[in-house]
Subunit: 324 residues, 2 copies
């Protein structure tokens, strides 16, 4: 950071003469609810969504710019928690808050832009997957969607946004206090919804290991693998065996959550996007650094198959329903 | 632009290993009104606000990232005009649209981030003004504020946003069609409100000429010179004679507008910010390239004086009222 907040613009180092940039709007009622998450978690999540987009190009996040619009009657402690969450997630990703802008509005709105640097590596786009490549995953899938379903089913009564009002500023631990249900894993799922833990370092790691394509899982695993398949002109064959047995899927907790709310936990795994995992393709035989885990392969064709069955490709978690 | 829209993030060239970045939120009802401006002008203005912030550091704008949230019932032609306006203003500033993100919302919201490159020059902050420096201005002041006052006084009946509905896509000329009042300059003032014309090139020009401090006039001339005075630890003496006689002030049109709405035109000049002019300080004796015009000088002390009278410094156009 060469010039920080307080001037007309920030100046940020771009050591290899390129800058990676991603932007996003988050709107109260659309992307978050104050009754389900405190300011700290919402700030952390807003930062995470953009920082992982930068990592998904193979870059190291360096800086975050924030436009923030809040109602005049928003409690100052809530706004302060929001900023704390943004700053904390920046630090978790190795980046800094470089600047921003504030204004008034009826509901809370955040415009977040993340910048990053490639460290001399080539950017990893969605379009480079080739037949024969491995498909691998880093980070969790399904946890945040399960946490949201638990909250929607009424699990928000305890361990919810009230934790933020206490001013602790460490909202990410709140979900663990008193979750609904008996299984201890349910608290972790709710925490995963409130504050995702994207695998930032796995992005540059994949680029260094020779990843041919990469994407942030934000629309859901199937939908986002579909984006890679389309951009690369290939078919992706997903195998649920290694996927559900691997570290990305917290199967026991998901099964307990599915029992609690009467849903299919495989739905969450295949179509939930809010964990912000990374998926990437690598040439066959590439030794994958942890946490990267093989979940499928690239073949000629188009679209995505799940255990050999072609997927309709209709979209992400919002549009998809299947019985497991 | 190395990787453009359609991937997780854009990759933009940063030839001198630094990137300049500014961000802003624009919200319907707060920053613009659909009844006073068409989509094209609102898009152009949203881009202009951020691109000039980058130029105010001495940088050349290179790229724009856009987060856009619109209601589901927004006419597609309006949204298309908005994008056209964003793209056109980018081109006017020498930049490209590098990427973005769309979502739904109750009202229109734009999150705009501009990037730029310094071409090897040092960034020009607000904090470098020294006693003895000249104070100079590039671009218009007062015009947009006068245009807004005309619209608020009912001059919007003709030549208004209806021009956009016709699908012409060239909204910037609409104000000229049929303005309220008799003076032909009034149409230009309304056009200046709808689509400001910031002096992008004057930013890098000032940096090359040795500017010691620079700022975008967005809060109003007095308020923004006050920001420079505070950041630099100096007093700025503004002289209204050279200011109002110079190219920044369209005095005849402003006087006609003031007559029409019963306001003081000097108020608009001193406190109107929406033209997005640039103010900068230069070492005494610096030959200033046009359009830079001397409007004052830097002396020891604090705050801003206008023709020798200390200014209260209470703020920008929203809070200031004086009889002329």
């Amino acid at each position: 950071l060469i010039v920080g907040a307080g001037d007309d613009a920030a100046v940020i180092a771009a050591p290899d003469r390129r800058v990676v940039a991603a932007t996003d709007l988050l709107i109260e009622g659309r992307h978050f609810r104050r009754e389900w998450s405190g300011g700290y978690d919402i700030g952390a999540k807003a930062a995470a969504r953009n920082l992982i987009d930068v990592a998904a190009m193979g870059a190291r996040p360096t800086a975050l710019l924030i436009g923030m619009a809040v109602p005049g009657d928003l409690p100052a402690s809530w706004a302060l928690d929001l900023v704390k969450g943004l700053v904390a997630e920046c630090q978790a990703a190795g980046a800094v808050v470089a600047g921003g802008d504030t204004s008034g509005s009826e509901t809370i709105m955040l415009g977040v832009t993340a910048l990053g640097e490639l460290g001399g590596a080539e950017p990893v786009t969605r379009g480079g997957a080739r037949p024969g490549d491995l498909v691998a995953l880093a980070g969790a899938v399904g946890s945040a969607a399960a946490g949201l379903a638990l909250l929607a089913a009424g699990a928000s009564d305890r361990g919810s946004a009230s934790g933020s009002a206490s001013g602790s500023g460490s909202g990410s631990d709140r979900g663990a206090a008193a979750p609904a249900g008996d299984h201890p894993g349910l608290a972790e799922l709710i925490a995963a919804h409130r504050r995702p833990r994207p695998p930032y370092q796995a992005g540059p790691q994949a680029a260094a290991a020779g990843a041919t394509a990469m994407i942030d899982i934000s629309d859901g695993l199937i939908a986002d693998l579909g984006h890679v398949a389309r951009a690369s002109g290939v078919r992706i064959q997903l195998a649920t065996g290694p996927l559900t047995a691997g570290p990305a899927v917290h199967a026991t907790a998901l099964a307990a959550a599915a029992d609690t709310v009467g849903a299919s936990w495989l739905d969450w795994v295949l179509t939930g996007g809010d964990d912000h995992a990374l998926a990437a393709t690598f040439p066959a035989g590439t030794p994958l650094p942890p946490p990267w885990t093989v979940i499928g392969e690239v073949v000629p064709g188009s679209g995505v198959t799940v255990d050999g069955v072609p997927w309709s490709g209709a979209g992400g978690w919002q549009h998809f329903s299947v019985s497991s």
